[in-house]
């Protein structure tokens, strides 16, 4: 993870106890395939939730169910305590920013923003003033007369946000609207979403496959995979205490290990990987690990210390040796790929923490690696054998 700092955000005080959105046992089946399987969560008023997952994980389907474009096969969705499955989209008070923005090309920016007010038959005399106020909110004051195609990509994003918010919806949905932007603009717009959301206090659900975006903008993160909710936690907990090995591997740059459980001592798990006995922390639902059973483990690249000197790693609970196989310079960090003798494991990816010393390893150097027991997450073994190559982060 390049920048972890923004993830440290204090959750806002819950003023309203009633959930703004409550999803209860929702499933969606297309042609016998579960796009969403038994999803349940509550979202408090004013919170910013991100549903994070790879493509095909069901996150967009879940969003479209909440928006009302799809009807769940089973389960129920409540918005402000009201069951909405029978309510068509145009009667739900939901503002949505679409993946391709879906601005109306035959209208000006102001006409786009005025559209939901017109459709809701608001007093025509108040519309222009309100439209201008929301255009100013998204920093497009004075540009209302422009046609959509006369605006830049970032400005179009802002029009889409203003249009989704101008009628003060109960809920704002973001369907990966930033996916098509280049990185710089995307990061700018992420903060912009966050600023506007805080300013208005509107409950927001964002869908993305960008882990950085999820950590930066959200109060809560739901990680989805294969239609199932894997974890629902704060960004910090999602990153620090991934509940499943999927979450551990999806966020950050994570190395996968596998072995056999040798001891269970509360949270501390003994794991035998090849000839190496290591200690890790149980993650996810407890009690699923058994002595003698296979388990998989995950360690993040930034949690591994690297040193040519074994004694420098003396405080760490797991230490092993290896050989540098590749050095990847990424500007703000150096990534080493280290070959070890661990079975079913490719080279371990390690971030160099000791940038101050400017020590550089070269391919072929013999090094020692070490980590703390609390940083090695141990999970029940994956159904499929652990991949031979560690997953790359985004």
């Amino acid at each position: 993870m390049e920048r972890m700092k923004p993830a440290f955000r204090q959750p806002q005080a819950a003023e309203d106890r009633q959930a703004a959105v409550s999803v209860r046992g929702v499933s969606m089946v297309y042609d016998g395939v579960h796009a969403v399987r038994d999803a349940s969560f509550d979202l408090a008023q004013g919170k910013f939730l991100t549903i994070l997952g790879p493509s095909g994980s069901g996150k967009t389907t879940l969003l479209r169910l909440i928006a009302g474009f799809l009807e769940p096969t089973s389960g129920e969705i409540f918005i402000n305590g009201r069951a909405v499955s029978a309510v068509p989209p145009h009667r739900r008070s939901i503002g949505m920013v679409f993946q391709k923005l879906a601005l109306f090309p035959h209208m000006t920016a102001a006409q786009n923003v005025a559209f939901p007010l017109k459709m809701r038959r608001r007093d025509a005399r108040t519309i222009p003033e309100r439209v201008e106020r929301y255009l100013e909110l998204v920093r497009l004051g004075g540009l209302g007369g422009r046609r959509v195609h006369e605006l830049s990509g970032g400005q179009q994003q802002r029009v889409a946000i203003a249009r989704a918010l101008v009628f003060e919806p109960d809920l704002l949905l973001l369907d990966e609207p930033l996916a098509a932007l280049d990185r710089k603009l995307r990061e700018e717009m992420q903060l912009e979403f966050r600023r506007i959301q805080r300013q208005l206090g509107v409950t927001t659900i964002n869908v993305t496959h960008d882990q950085r975006e999820a950590l930066v903008v959200s109060d809560e993160v739901i990680v989805m995979e294969a239609g199932m909710i894997e974890q629902n936690a704060s960004p910090l907990d999602t990153y620090r205490a991934p509940a499943t090995s999927f979450v551990a591997n999806f966020l950050g740059v994570t190395n996968r290990l596998s072995g056999v459980v040798t001891s269970l001592d509360g949270d501390r798990i003994g794991l035998l990987a090849g000839d190496h006995l290591m200690v890790g922390a149980a993650a996810g639902p407890g009690g699923s690990l058994q002595i003698g059973a296979r388990a998989s483990a995950a360690i993040r690249a930034e949690q591994i210390r690297i040193s040519p000197d074994l004694f420098a790693l003396s405080g760490l609970e797991t230490v092993l040796s290896g050989t540098v196989s590749d050095v990847i310079f990424e500007g703000d960090r150096v990534v080493y790929e280290i070959l070890t003798v661990l079975p079913e494991t490719g080279p371990l990816r390690v971030f160099d923490h000791d940038v101050g010393s400017r020590r550089q390893y070269r391919a072929g150097d013999a090094v020692h690696l070490g980590w703390n027991a609390r940083d090695l997450f141990v999970y029940k073994a994956d159904p499929e054998p652990a991949a031979t190559k560690p997953d790359r982060g985004d």
Binding site: I94, F98, F104, F115, R163
Partner: protein, 299 residues
């Protein structure tokens, strides 16, 4: 390869490259040019009157044919009938074609889309004249419709040789043209725009009215122009389904050329038809803008 390129360079040096686009345009220009020559020839003929004793055209120019064409009530009736028909047929055809095209483009069922496409193309394989004769069989005094009506005790109705039957035949003939021109225009409207309109509070009707219809305008204008001009200049439907009682301008021109042999008056009527058609097209483009045909460089 080098030798080939060298040979090509001799035959067609690189500095000629700029001429290529114009050269490719040449056949089309030639074709249109021939048409203009024909038009000039017709223009010349239209200025000569027929000598009824010798059946030869006069040598000197006169506007007598135009005076006749514009003053005689027969021609005025025929022109008004054609014009009225083209407007009615255009309106009704667009009204029927739009839902058909919309369903064809938007249906999630591939089978239905194919069925609609086949149903659309099948009539194309049957020419206009054959189709008109088909209607004679169905709508005639001893036709299928009257046969069916007699079974339930209804006396035979006169379904043919009147204005509505001509309009009916024309609409049936024009429908595929209109659908084919509307479908691409509707395909170009992202479905997400309709979803967005719904999420912003528009019910189906209002989303259609405020989003789909305005964005479908280029297709509607294009389809409308095609149907309008084809109807205005149609010959077979009024001739066969109208049975001589419902002549359009094209039928009147035919009569002048091949029945009374007054080529001068026929040419005059032909030119007036061209003028009326151009005026109508010009008016539509003026009202809705050439940009609606996706011409020009907007966006």
């Amino acid at each position: 390869m080098d030798a080939l390129e060298a040979a090509a360079a001799v035959v067609w040096p690189a500095r000629f490259a700029a001429a290529v686009p114009y050269l490719m345009l040449a056949p089309a220009v030639l074709l249109v040019g021939l048409l203009v020559i024909g038009l000039a020839y017709i223009g010349d003929t239209s200025l000569r009157t027929l000598d009824t004793s010798t059946f030869l055209l006069s040598d000197d120019y006169t506007l007598a044919n135009y005076r006749r064409a514009l003053s005689e009530s027969l021609f005025r009736t025929v022109a008004a009938r054609s014009l009225q028909a083209s407007l009615i047929v255009t309106a009704v055809t667009l009204l029927l074609a739009f839902p058909y095209a919309y369903l064809m483009v938007r249906t999630p069922s591939a089978a239905l889309r194919k069925l609609l496409l086949i149903a659309l193309f099948l009539p194309f394989f049957i020419g206009q004249v054959v189709r008109a004769y088909g209607w004679l069989i169905i709508l005639g005094n001893q036709g299928m419709v009257n046969d069916a009506l007699s079974l339930v005790g209804v006396a035979p109705l006169r379904l043919l040789y009147n204005y509505p039957s001509v309009l009916f035949g024309l609409i049936q003939y024009m429908l595929p043209f209109a659908v084919l021109m509307l479908a691409p225009a509707l395909t170009a409207i992202p479905e997400e725009l309709e979803a967005a309109a719904h999420s912003l509070g528009a019910n189906w009707l209002r989303a259609f009215w405020h989003v789909v219809l305005p964005l479908a305008r280029p297709g509607l204008v294009g389809a409308g122009l095609v149907v309008l001009t084809l109807t205005l200049t149609d010959f077979a439907m009024p001739a066969i389904l109208g049975g001589g009682s419902q002549d359009f301008i094209a039928n009147a021109i035919y009569d002048q050329f091949f029945r009374t042999s007054d080529q001068g008056l026929g040419a005059t009527l032909a030119l007036l038809l061209v003028a009326a058609g151009s005026l109508l097209v010009g008016l539509v483009l003026y009202l809705f803008g050439a940009g609606t045909l996706a011409m020009g460089r907007r966006r």
